[in-house]
Symmetry: C2
Subunit: 312 residues, 2 copies
């Protein structure tokens, strides 16, 4: 049996949050439907933020509802605070993710809160979740943003990262993830920081990473993470992505190229790559002014490439 790796599609959230043009709800629905049909098992459909500041995300509740109609799909949403979490619970998200930025400057700029204030949010969210009946409780993850460096603060000490990871788990997150918000990670820092954090929280509390391809190392970093036993990788169709509060942050790793790398290595992702590639048209039509990334779409699969043989 091939090992399973979960590709979590974050394009509808991370890919769109930076764009000026608001993508219509119907287009986002088609995108999500298409990804689920191509075998993607988890999609972050949006974020429950202040919609006046980020109108792109105003339809997140509708997208959660839409995602919940896809059988087997885990519907994830980002929440910046307890109020956002309540909206996500109300909408029925299966998984919520709170960004806790290791760079406090970035945290304040991104979600207007310090580390101490964000840990208070974690505790409040935990309490809200625990008050729900068991079958309605979402999985609660804290995403440690700027875990590999910050384009405002520069170097981010590994000690701060590990301490915050431990504090987030203690405050009630089920899991922490490491996010390379700024594209500063390299395979070496992926290894050392995963090990440092896991030494504090344990392997089961850190199974996923969120990588950007800003400096072209995205898939090399993904490989380093896989070698460390990471089993969930965020990625974005066409590599869309960026963070409004982190200058210079650009595209996520490309879902299509990552799916190809994993299939070639014999991992099982459940994704039909040919089908996934057809979805690029949706974005090309909806946001023609945006650069779309990815190599596989031009190159195609290697001659004779058979996914089922590799996974066997």
């Amino acid at each position: 049996m091939a090992q399973e790796i979960l590709i979590s599609e974050v394009g509808p959230r991370d890919g769109l949050q930076n764009l000026k043009r608001v993508v219509p709800l119907e287009v986002k629905k088609r995108w999500i439907t298409g990804e689920a049909a191509a075998g993607v098992r988890e999609i972050e459909v949006g974020s429950f933020v202040n919609y006046k500041a980020l109108p792109q995300m105003a339809d997140t509740a509708a997208l959660v509802a839409h995602g919940r109609t896809m059988p087997g799909l885990t519907v994830a949403a980002l929440v910046p605070n307890q109020r956002g979490a309540e909206a996500a619970l109300e909408a029925g998200a299966h998984k919520i993710s709170l960004p806790l930025s290791v760079s406090e400057t970035h945290s304040v700029r991104n979600v207007k809160r310090t580390h101490v204030q964000m840990l208070d949010e974690v505790r409040a969210i935990r309490k809200t979740i625990d008050a729900l009946p068991a079958e309605r409780r979402p999985y609660f993850e804290v995403g440690l943003s700027t875990a590999f460096g910050c384009s405002i603060e520069g170097h981010v000490p590994v000690e701060t990262l590990s301490r915050l990871a431990g504090a987030a788990i203690e405050a009630g997150a089920e899991e922490v993830g490491l996010s390379d918000t700024t594209g500063y990670a390299d395979p070496g820092s992926i290894r050392t920081r995963l090990r440092a954090v896991r030494a504090v929280v344990g392997d089961q509390r850190l199974t996923g990473v969120h990588l950007h391809n800003t400096r072209g190392l995205g898939l090399a970093n993904a490989l380093a993470a896989l070698d460390e036993g990471i089993t969930t990788l965020d990625a974005s169709l066409c590599g869309l992505g960026g963070c409004p509060a982190a200058p210079g942050a650009s595209g996520n790793i490309v879902t299509e190229d990552l799916a190809f790398m994993l299939a070639a290595m014999g991992y099982e992702t459940g994704i039909d790559i040919d089908r996934l590639l057809t979805l690029r048209d949706i974005l090309q039509d909806a946001i023609p002014e945006e650069p779309l990334y990815g190599f596989l779409t031009d190159a195609g699969l290697p001659k004779g490439f058979a996914m089922h043989e590799r996974a066997a």
Copy 2:
């Protein structure tokens, strides 16, 4: 002490051989001078082929002579056969590389010779080299093209690869390299094929790989090769590259991005990345119609990135 990794710049050969526009000798010289000044220690300056078929390479002897004026630079050249090798020796190349394609169809199309005929060339070249005085003998490598698959034949058996590698060493090559001519490699096949070939020829006879980024896995593949103990990586400024005889073959891994990945991981390459990035202008001016690849040039180095600290 940081481990040294050799980046071998192949742009002037692999990057240009596919282009219609012939780049003037003076431009190539500026490029080579600039790379050497940026700390690149080995450059493949061209190939000794039939210049009527490939006029881009007609100035290779002049470029070898130019390269030899750069202190400490290893001047490499590709040769398709014994006749080319003689021209390379005459010109004074420090290193010659003969492509032996594991896909025999590709070999016949690329250099008009079967495996048996190419092994005869290896023996003839060895004899020619051994007839020289010791101080004039170049290092002789056989590059195993299509080592990870062929866009004409498709799958290329690992047994054929290992057998040819062993035969090339027996016929007189000092070393073999594995070339992913078509961009079919993945980190898994990098590992298994390096191990399979090294089991036949020994670790010291296989220290380098030549990777293309056709499907975006170039740096992930480079990482897998580094993990296997590979110490020489071919790359090309701006990722230029391709093979006239392999349909769909496209760009090499990008020298700038690779140099960044290695520096970030604490390897020593001798390369001044900021200086390297300034050389992109030479190509932008000389071949404005060609797509130039690479992420680092837009993103820049991470804030506070200090190469000397990492290598310490």
